[in-house]
Symmetry: C2
Subunit: 414 residues, 2 copies
């Protein structure tokens, strides 16, 4: 936004984030088949339909017995049946009787203990076999009581939690076939600028490839949103509104990138004003990625990122990722860790700095972080090879090698 | 596998993993559009088609000048044009001339420095304006040379690297429209056992819901593979082969779960022998998840996981995840960190233990890990709510609160 020479105070990153996130929430619910629900967010608490286990089961391979029958010198029992997972023994255990049993199988009625197969001598593996007990059991031994894991009606998964494969395993075990999840947000992605050509086209002198739209589509997808391509708006009044209003589906958010070229800034201003938007041009106290546009088009929130690819990516990480999380129904919690830095850093100025860095773990598993030697925000290759950002607050004093710094690991796909 | 009572030595986890991974590799290549390539793995090194920047560009908003013209007392220049991103100035700078320039714009021919707009007085924003220089520049000032980021022909992305959104941004900037990626592996998922019913069906007494197939489908998908549902093979000879041979696409690996019920074990043995397989029944020195089957069916590697859902999930994390990574083309590097434990642990026995745990970060960002109070391998709810596994080697001595332990964080979607 070169034409804006006016001085204005810099907005702290956290204030900008709070304003962007304000009011963002999902509204619509899908009922998803279990296997397709991985990565989605629950729209309500989930209760179990079943108890797990539904009845007492054996935790070992051995023999189900009555503990009271196993006292005295070398007690002997008679094998009267077999209970296996999927094939329970239907009878009721009588005095002096034992049932061969396997891990996970139902405990027969009137049995109260399992003896390990290693702790008996069995005359055969057939019914009628004589079972000699060497280690008398106590009542309840190697029995998992009904509901040990979950009781029917228990809340097993919480509203607004992200569904992992293991959460889905629990839902399946609990008798559910589908889960209610928040609908994935549709994020419109619009590039702006006369200088842009599509990937694969050869740029003429002065032109550059529109890499930001591709990056943002991949970022939105890997963040759980659905990217909607709104194309490239050229530098003329109304172009942006035209592209946004031709979106094939209702949008939950619009993200623009670009506006580095002269004139774009003014067109965005006039377009947003025409759409009746309360718009804000923020200069954020951060590096890279100072200018940011925030507003609404036809009631849909708009986030305007800088044109520089590295600034776009850092702003997407800091602002867009949390916004997609909110629109997807789960709370944004920044994943930041503390790591030892391997080199010194000069004092920081008034901007919060996001240094592209490589995070590694030493032989003891402790995190070590090394900032890239060049932090030029035009260098896409350095950002592509980073796996973390070192976050330095405004006016951070100088840092020595071995000091601890705050690090935001970059998700492997972001 | 209850019928196998024979004692055999326990196989160390690392040995089992090495044998499972041996020979696994991708073979086929897809040419993927950029935005769809996120999460895929490159099948070869990638070179840049372009230099970035393609020509010297300005790193600031200001005026492009010849440094030699800016000496003496308050040098004055004449504005002769404007260079913006996408709209380069086509001329050649003469003596005493300046060109208005913006960040990212091409430096005019014969210009060798940029003066910040803050460091001049301009009589107007029009051509012919008088530009008074307050801070004489040095040659090269605020100019990014051609190829600063990348030179045409440079290797920008490495074979077998996982493609992040930022790697795709780099590829787009470098002029590429598609990327060669390894084909995603097709992983056949087969449940075995008479006791299983499909999710959503009400289990009869003795039956349980087949949660493992759902879990494995979600796990495979979140790991970058394509799950292929092979159904439930009942406990009869030939059932397993029938299901595998009806797979709708060629498979890269088969994963089975179950076999806890009596008879399944024998049927798997006879089926694998009929398919001419060299099969192995391993007892692994790990907890949970001791029994594991490894073999081939019709030339396709088979991994047979235990039937217990928690054992299945831990074995999937330890063995299947790395196998999918190998089949997808990227090397498996276990992500393990060191964390402070918040409670004491008793000495470990001869099995490598994988304790379900919650990993948190304290106010300084340092990792703290707390094992679940109950480690019963039948408890799916505990695994679903864990976000990490504490790995204890065989014969690990007792541990005190505050000691450091090795932790494998669970990926958010796994």
């Amino acid at each position: 936004m070169p034409s804006n020479g006016a001085k204005q105070p810099l907005l702290p990153v956290d204030d900008a984030l709070e304003r962007i996130l304000k009011g963002l929430a999902p509204s619509q619910v899908d009922e998803s088949p279990l296997a397709a629900a991985v990565g989605r967010t629950l729209s309500r608490d989930i209760q179990s339909d079943l108890s797990l286990p539904p009845a007492p089961v054996s935790s070992m391979d051995g023999y189900a017995v009555r503990a009271e029958d196993c006292t005295g010198e070398k007690p002997q029992l008679t094998r009267v049946g077999e209970s296996a997972a999927g094939h329970p023994w239907q009878g009721r255990l009588g005095a002096g009787e034992a049932v061969r049993i396997f891990t996970g199988a139902f405990i027969p009625a009137n049995s109260d203990a399992v003896v390990l197969q290693e702790d008996v001598d069995a005359s055969s593996e057939s019914e009628g076999a004589r079972i000699t007990i060497h280690e008398p059991p106590h009542s309840g031994q190697f029995i998992r009581p009904a509901g040990l894991d979950v009781s029917a009606g228990d809340t097993i998964l919480r509203k607004n939690s992200l569904l992992s494969a293991r959460a889905i395993s629990l839902a399946a075990s609990a008798g559910l076939a589908t889960l209610p999840v928040w609908r994935q947000p549709h994020i419109g992605i619009l590039s702006t600028g006369d200088e842009l050509v599509l990937p694969g086209e050869t740029p003429a002198p002065g032109q550059i490839v529109s890499s930001n739209a591709i990056y943002l589509a991949a970022f939105v997808q890997a963040s759980g949103g659905i990217p909607i391509d709104l194309g490239i708006a050229r530098d003329r009044a109304g172009a942006m509104l035209d592209h946004v209003r031709k979106a094939p589906v209702p949008l939950d958010m619009i993200v623009t990138s670009g506006g580095a070229s002269v004139g774009t800034h003014d067109h965005i201003v006039s377009d947003l004003q025409e759409a009746g938007s309360a718009l804000n041009f923020w200069k954020i106290a951060m590096r890279p990625g100072k200018p940011l546009i925030h507003g609404m088009i036809d009631g849909v929130p708009l986030l305007g990122l800088p044109g520089n690819p590295v600034s776009t990516a850092v702003c997407a990480t800091v602002f867009l990722g949390p916004a997609i999380a909110r629109l997807s129904g789960h709370d944004y919690v920044p994943h930041q860790i503390s790591a030892e830095i391997t080199c010194e850093l000069q004092p920081n100025d008034r901007r919060q700095d996001y240094l592209r860095a490589v995070l590694e773990y030493d032989v003891d598993g402790l995190p070590l972080v090394t900032p890239a030697r060049k932090q030029d925000s035009s260098m896409v290759s350095i950002f592509a090879n980073a796996n973390a950002l070192i976050i330095r607050p405004p006016f951070d004093p100088s840092i020595a090698a071995g000091d601890r710094v705050t690090v935001m690991p970059l998700a492997p796909l972001l």
